[in-house]
Symmetry: C2
Subunit: 343 residues, 2 copies
């Protein structure tokens, strides 16, 4: 089955060039109908540069642009003709099946909540990212959509993440851990103790609290976190990986043997880079909103954008939204869960 | 001037062996009087093994042991004859000048608060760690002592960190940043906006909010954080550095050229490891308590323990505690700061 995927051509640090190239790549390799949403002239200019026939695409003009550093919620109210607002409205009207954007994350999150609303039964959307670990791949949710979560929000993130992971990686009952400052259930602020109780009483495959040092060791499939903490964990990792790479190259360049060695290990280093490269895993699904929305990293390459489209297709093929609705209904109405929430 | 430094021989993952060796190293290289606090028999056994004459040391028997995974606050009330409780009591009675422990962090923090109390004017102690960055060294405070901080606590962490950094690294007016999920002052929960205001109205060299990706790039000298968030940031970094090392070696080993290359770059890799090695920077000063207390990493080697003693000596030589008292008094009683706190 073929889907219509809308791509935000104006979003991202390297827009419109990389987003346009990503859209072309997705069209070619994934055989989906791609809808290009952005400033029409820019799209035409890119098509000419890349010698691409726009006949194969649908182009929707979105003359306004939300920059990467604008305040998200505000910009979305002001710029109703931005690619983000127009794309999400197309999704709401079911004129496209999914929307992929590497633009301003906060703007995408607020616009999606505002325009699409949440899935029936869901409280708040959460951004989930896939990260490479020593063992395999883990999913971390939430990394910044919701910085003042209530206990129920985190339980719902766990439910959505577990479902997503099981559907996309064909793994039954993926493990779920709660990001905390120690493994014992007594650890952390009161808030985390309530969340721990909620997870314990749910049918999720809950392994308990997870210390941050175990995120990348791959101790569990899904890591649930407060959006503020998850955002910090993700970004400090990005920054550290960059600095380590730099340190290493510097250290190696300092002596002659190191230089020769560097030449020899270069191919392996590239392979290593591929392992830690977010581009391999595409974008971050915004789970909980009533429509398939994938948020790409601001620095996404065309390759990363193509992979984000792949993630969107997986969600659609497996009817993730329908399944989330069922599962939330089932777990969140459970009497044990309700009891913890009311005490 | 020579100081008397108490070392917790029972604390740490490799106790008593590494802590004893660390004490010997500190005695030899730093020419300080070292007081060994731990189970007497164990200390004697280690001395025999290492062929060390205990004449050069003072030995204080502390027959009880707090394990690394006990609940800190509880264990300290029950085990009054633990090395941690006895060491901190010696410090309180000024029978030692500083206490270094690689034991259960939560136990050291609660015992220090309980036994020593806080410096006059200080509200809550905070754990500060030094981390290597792309530029130099940064100090992060708090990494887990206080997981429910009030805005004033964070301001005080900034004051203490700035003072510590300026005294130890001879740098006037070190820069101070606030760990948040975005740089704009409107970012983060309400709590962080109040903290931002407090810092802005203080005489600290405040550069504003700092995103987690910039911690390791070295954008500022002192990074102030909520203890929960700081703990996660630190531990995720430790975990990631470990996994990256493993990934890299695996990738390199996969082909023959890589293997030869690995042999050639080995020396450089060791140099790189030294840069990211926490052992170089010794322990984490527990700032705000009324006495010099250094908390070492649980996995500290004897070399790291010696460096932790060095950190203690620096604090003593520069009369950090006296200076903190003056500075807290000056800044926290300022009318602008008081006004923000009361509105």
């Amino acid at each position: 089955m073929s889907y219509k995927i809308g791509i935000d051509i104006s979003g991202g640090d390297f827009a419109p060039h990389e987003s346009f190239k990503g859209a072309v790549l997705a069209n070619k390799e994934l055989a989906q109908k791609i809808v290009l949403i952005g400033i029409e002239e820019e799209i035409e200019r890119e098509a000419e540069k890349e010698k691409i026939d726009l006949e194969n695409f649908e182009v929707i003009d979105a003359p306004e642009k939300i920059s990467m550093d604008e305040v998200g919620a505000m910009s979305i109210r002001r710029k109703r003709k931005s690619s983000i607002a127009i794309g999400l409205n197309l999704l709401k009207e079911r004129k496209i099946d999914a929307f992929v954007s590497c633009g301003n994350t906060a703007a995408v999150v607020s616009a999606a909540s505002l325009i699409l609303g949440v899935i029936e039964g869901a409280e708040r959307p959460g951004i989930s990212v896939l990260i490479p670990t020593a063992k395999d791949i883990s999913l971390v949710i939430d990394v910044g959509a919701n910085i003042n979560p209530k206990p129920l929000h985190l339980l719902q993130y766990g439910i959505m993440a577990s479902l997503y992971y099981s559907l996309v990686f064909n793994k039954e009952n993926p493990t779920v851990g709660l990001l905390n400052i120690g493994e014992e259930e007594s650890k952390g602020p009161d808030f985390m103790r309530i969340v721990h109780k909620l997870f314990s009483s749910s049918p999720l495959n809950f392994i308990g609290n997870l210390e941050a040092k175990d995120i990348f060791s791959g101790r569990c499939d899904c890591v649930v976190s407060d959006g503020f903490v998850g955002n910090v964990a993700l970004k400090v990792s990005e920054g550290l990986a960059e600095v380590i790479g730099k340190f290493l190259i510097d250290a190696i360049r300092k002596d002659l043997l190191g230089k020769i060695g560097l030449f020899l290990v270069r191919r392996s280093m590239r392979r290593f880079k591929r392992v830690i490269d977010y581009a391999e895993y595409g974008g971050a699904p915004l789970l909980g909103v009533n429509g398939v929305v994938i948020i790409g990293h601001g620095r996404s390459s065309s390759y990363a954008i193509k992979n984000a489209v792949k993630v969107a297709i997986q969600e659609l093929q497996r009817d993730l939204i329908g399944r989330i609705k069922e599962r939330l209904d089932e777990i969140c109405k459970d009497s044990r869960v309700r009891q913890i929430l009311t005490t």
